[in-house]
């Protein structure tokens, strides 16, 4: 089957192997090593890694549309945040009557607003299955509506990028309003359980970290299968010569739309994994700047490789955690500096460097033969 085809490919096997190894290592170092040992990985760190992994999945989603389809989406944060909000609604409902106001059904912020019933769009949010479905469906439907209009009118390039920025900005403004019913500027927080497991325990955090890793692996394989298929080659063709691809008889706008929707759904899943691990979702996730940052991760790691996006996301976010801890004011300078350095010295990102080395090695081996 085409979906399992990447599993027979060397680069995918390496990627999955490294990911699995890292997951096992972190688990072992967390569970089996005593807390005072220098190699011990604390629950806090496990939680942090889980967050990075959900970011990595988001980066893979962005690389799929940017690297292979040539659509520079500067609004993927919106799909990520929507997935997060859907999960946040479920987690709010799980609090039940343990909130500050002790209302059996309404979340605290609704009681505060003097609402006496849940709005219709909160229906079903107490079911995990329904939530899991909506995590993909809500971003997917938005991406479909947006993409249908944009691609049908053949809006591409810079104009599309600006429109995706506008999309996420508009959503941010909307979600800031209390009347929207999503907690306004405070968003949603003080979550307690997920599927009956206490979110604040170390075990749940470890489980969420592992689930994020599995989700990244699955998302990676799906994207890899897609780009390895003939449709993937049509994507690359339309990225480089759209009119020519159309002339060959492919419906480019349909290819763009479907891949865009798949990417948005993956971003939604990433958001849904992110929220229980950080314990809050608020409109700042819609901030245009965040969407640009995602693109930066991908650029740093290397476009159109998928694994480059993962490397970029992990590296930048680790650096971010480190720098904001050591010297909070310097982080933005460090990020900017990093970006300048990469564009000048590594135009193809870190993955490009890896490829270059491999090719150079192969050449060296060829010479004596």
């Amino acid at each position: 089957m085409w979906l399992t085809q990447p599993l027979y490919e060397r680069s995918t096997r390496i990627f999955l192997g490294v990911l699995l190894l890292a997951m096992i290592l972190v688990t072992l170092l967390h569970l089996a090593v005593p807390a005072d040992h220098p190699l011990y990985v604390s629950a806090y760190t496990v939680n942090l890694f889980g967050k990075y992994l959900s970011y990595a999945l988001l980066a893979v989603a962005v690389d799929l549309v940017w690297g292979y389809l040539g659509i520079l989406s500067l609004g993927h944060g919106a799909f990520f945040a929507l997935g997060g909000y859907v999960m946040g609604m479920y987690l709010m409902r799980q609090i039940g009557d343990r909130g500050v106001y002790g209302h059996p059904e309404l979340p605290d912020f609704m009681v505060f607003l003097n609402w006496d019933a849940l709005p219709w769009y909160w229906l079903g949010s107490d079911s995990f299955l329904f939530t899991a479905l909506m995590v993909m469906l809500v971003p997917g439907v938005l991406a479909f509506a947006f993409g249908y209009l944009a691609f049908r009118s053949r809006v591409t390039g810079v104009y599309l990028s600006i429109m995706t920025q506008a999309l996420t900005f508009a959503l941010m403004l909307a979600f800031y309003r209390n009347e929207m019913g999503f907690g306004g500027s405070d968003g949603m927080t003080n979550f307690r359980d997920i599927l009956g497991f206490d979110l604040r325990t170390d075990e749940t955090r470890l489980a969420l970290f592992l689930i994020s890793g599995v989700a990244l692996a699955v998302g990676y394989v799906i994207c890899r299968a897609l780009v390895n298929s003939k449709l993937g080659r049509v994507c690359i063709a339309s990225r480089d010569a759209e009119a020519r691809t159309r002339f060959l008889g492919y419906r480019v706008e349909r290819v763009q739309l479907s891949v865009f929707v798949v990417s948005a759904m993956l971003a939604g899943v990433a958001g849904a994994l992110y929220v229980p691990q950080v314990g809050i979702i608020n409109p700042s996730e819609f901030a245009p700047l965040f969407s640009i940052e995602i693109v930066l991760w991908v650029a740093l790691g290397g476009r159109a490789t998928l694994y480059g996006a993962v490397i970029g996301a992990l590296l930048v976010n680790y650096a971010k955690t480190y720098f904001t801890g050591v010297m909070p004011d310097a982080w933005l300078f460090a990020l900017g500096g990093l970006f300048v350095l990469v564009t000048v010295f590594l135009p193809k990102g870190i993955a490009g460097l890896l490829k270059q080395r491999k090719q150079a090695k192969e050449k060296e081996e060829e010479v004596p033969a």
């Binding site: 085409w2 298929s229 003939k230 449709l231 049509v234 009119a243 020519r244 002339f247 060959l248 008889g249």
Partner: protein
């Protein structure tokens, strides 16, 4: 059981998705037939009562000075431009004036533009794969697996265009001439009956020109080929039948020798060189 098998054959599940290809009727000889075609742009008569017939399997060269209407004629055949008057028939069954651009393309008329556009990030092999005539809607494209049948088709074309050794190279590193051949190969993958080739040797070296001449003459017989070209040496090397266009209509027609001895032709076109 047979039905099940048909269902499994994914690109045939929806019968209406399979391009309708009613056969091109060439029993009466010509594959392309233009009669009294005229078109004008803002009062400028680009094509003026043009009559042209191309026989099935023929290789025809069309020459003429700038502004003679060569490109406009190609545009009319491929449906890009609609003539003001006249009729255009493909075989004796298809009236091309009633059809849209994609319909004409799927009938089997392929056109190569002057500037080669190949997919530079894909390999030569993949370029041909994408061009192959098949169901190009979303799901079949996603699920299509490479098989011996497809491979054989691609290899046949690779052989023809002489890029067999380079089939794993990215198209971006090809030379200008090789790109032109690849593009002709991509056209061939669409299994056209009639090939329209616009200035194939512009910017080519001598050797590349020779190679192109071989390629085009090799195609004739299986496909009908119409070549528009400026380079007289090249035309002389491939053409059996030459048509000279001037001010939107046919000035002379015949073998290269006949045409180049025609006093009218010498006056308007060849005169510059003689």
């Amino acid at each position: 059981m047979k039905l099940l098998k048909e269902m499994a054959n994914r690109d045939r599940v929806f019968e209406f998705l399979v391009p309708q290809q009613s056969p091109v009727d060439v029993r009466h000889g010509p594959i392309l037939y233009l009669e009294d075609v005229s078109v004008s742009f803002d009062g400028f008569q680009a094509i003026n009562k043009l009559n042209l017939t191309i026989d099935d399997g023929e290789l025809r060269c069309i020459i003429g000075p700038n502004g003679a209407g060569k490109t406009t004629m190609m545009d009319i055949i491929t449906g890009k431009t609609r003539p003001d008057a006249g009729s255009v028939w493909f075989g004796s069954r298809h009236n091309l004036l009633e059809k849209s651009e994609p319909e004409i393309a799927s009938l089997g008329i392929g056109r190569k533009f002057q500037k080669p556009t190949v997919f530079e990030a894909l390999t030569v092999f993949q370029n041909l794969e994408l061009a192959r005539a098949t169901n190009k809607s979303l799901l079949p494209t996603l699920l299509e697996q490479m098989n011996g049948d497809i491979r054989a088709q691609i290899e046949e074309v690779l052989e023809l265009i002489g890029l067999k050794e380079l089939h794993r190279q990215e198209a971006g590193i090809l030379s200008h001439g090789q790109k032109q051949w690849l593009e002709i190969g991509m056209l061939l993958m669409q299994r056209p009956r009639l090939l329209l080739v616009d200035e194939p040797v512009a910017g080519m070296t001598e050797q590349e020109m020779e190679r192109t001449a071989e390629l085009l003459t090799g195609l004739a017989g299986k496909q009908s080929v119409v070549v528009v070209e400026h380079d007289m040496g090249f035309v002389r090397s491939i053409a059996r039948q030459v048509t000279v266009l001037h001010q939107g209509s046919v000035l002379a027609e015949g073998s290269m020798d006949e045409v180049s001895n025609n006093p009218k032709v010498i006056e308007v076109y060849l005169g510059e060189e003689a």
